[in-house]
Amino acid sequence: MYIWFMANSKLYKGSLVTIILKLLNESNKMYGYEITQKVKELTRGELKITEGALYPALHKLEAEGLLEVEVKKVDNRLRKYYKLTEKGNKETVSKLQELQEYIKTMQVLVNPKLSLE
C-alpha cells in the first residue's frame, strides 16, 4: 500500500496521525477529502495523502475515541465530518511535542554546528 504518493515517502510515513490531528485542531471539523486537499495546498503539492492511508487512519482514531463524527447532508449527499474529542485534543498536544523533539534530535544529528549555536 502506498502511504504517501511522493518521492521521499518513508520519512513522512510515521507522521500521518500527527498531521490529521493538527489539521483538525486548527479547523474544528473536517471531512476526508478536505483533509487530502488541505495537506496538498499547505505543502504546495509536495505531500499527498493517499485515500488508502487516510481513511484507515481516521477510522482507527475514531475507534480509539480520539475523534468523533458528525454527519450532515451537503448538496445531494451525506458528508461525514471528523472532530477532535477531549482525549483527541490532549493527544494532539502530546503528538506535536513528540514530533518537535524528533525534529530537534534530527537537527542535532544532521547539522551539529547549527544546533550548538
Binding site: 477529502y33 493517499t50 481513511y55 475507534a63 463524527v69 454527519v71 445531494n76 451525506l78 461525514k80
Partner: protein, 229 residues
C-alpha cells in the same frame, strides 16, 4: 459542474460492486468520490462522468477499496470490544455483583461434588445449546432488519452475526475437557479457577448474545449519526 442524484446512486452501486457492502462506509466513499469527480470536472469539464469516476477510483491504488474496508472492519471490531467491555464491567459493581457472586457460588458448589466432570459437561453443553439457539435467532433478526431498512451497517453485522463466535470453538473442545478434568477436581485451587472461568464465560456469553443485541439500536445511533437520518 455538480454531480447529479442519479450519479450519486451510481456511486453507491459502484462501491457495492467493489465489495463495500456496508452503508456507513459506502456513504463516506461516495462523498469522497463525488468530491473528487467534481474537482476533476473543474480541470476537465468535458470528461464523461464514468471516466471521471474511474479516474477518482484509481487514486485508491491497485487494491481499490480493500485496504480501507479491511482496516474499517478492524476499527469497528475494536469499538465492539469496547462496548462489550463496558457492559461486562457492570457485573463487577453493585447491584449486579451480587448476581455474579451467586453464579460463582453455584459453580463452586456444583464442581465440589463427586460428579464434577459430569456437571462440567452438562453445564457447558447447556451453554452451547443456548448459544447456538441465540446465534440462529440473531441471524434471523439481522436478515429481517436488513430487509426492512435495505441497509447494512458494519457494527450491526458484528453485533448480530459475530456474537460469541470464538466461544463456540472453545465449547467444541468439551470432550477433551471431560477427559482431563477428572484428575484435577480433587484440588481446591482447580475448583476455584474453573468456577471463576465458568462465571466469566457465562457473563461474556450473556452480554454478547443477549444484552448487546438488545441495545443495538442505541449503540448504532451512538456510532453512526446518520443511522437515524
Amino acid at each position: 459542474m455538480k454531480i447529479s442524484q442519479d450519479e450519486i446512486q451510481d456511486l453507491y452501486a459502484f462501491t457495492r460492486q467493489h465489495f463495500v457492502e456496508h452503508y456507513d462506509l459506502q456513504t463516506e466513499l461516495v462523498d469522497h468520490l463525488a468530491n473528487d469527480i467534481e474537482s476533476i470536472w473543474i480541470k476537465q469539464p468535458k470528461l464523461y462522468y464514468r471516466e471521471a469516476r474511474d479516474k477518482a477510483f484509481k487514486k485508491f491504488g491497485v487494491f481499490g477499496f480493500m485496504d480501507v474496508l479491511e482496516k474499517r472492519h478492524k476499527a469497528m471490531n475494536k469499538k465492539y470490544i469496547k462496548y462489550l467491555w463496558l457492559e461486562f464491567k457492570k457485573w463487577f459493581a453493585l447491584p449486579k455483583l451480587l448476581i455474579t457472586l451467586t453464579v460463582f457460588i453455584a459453580f463452586y458448589t456444583a464442581f465440589s461434588t463427586n460428579m464434577a466432570s459430569y456437571v462440567l459437561v452438562l453445564s457447558y453443553g447447556l451453554i452451547a445449546i443456548w448459544c447456538i439457539f441465540k446465534s440462529i435467532q440473531l441471524n434471523r433478526q439481522f436478515r429481517r432488519r436488513k430487509e426492512k431498512s435495505q441497509k447494512k451497517w458494519m457494527l450491526e453485522e458484528i453485533i448480530f452475526k459475530q456474537a460469541g463466535g470464538s466461544a463456540l470453538i472453545l465449547i467444541s473442545q468439551l470432550p477433551t475437557w471431560f477427559r482431563i478434568s477428572g484428575d484435577y477436581f480433587d484440588s481446591y485451587g482447580f475448583i476455584i479457577l474453573i468456577s471463576i472461568f465458568s462465571t466469566l464465560f457465562v457473563l461474556w456469553m450473556y452480554v454478547s448474545f443477549e444484552l448487546l443485541p438488545n441495545k443495538a439500536e442505541d449503540l448504532l445511533n451512538e456510532t453512526y449519526p446518520e443511522f437515524s437520518l
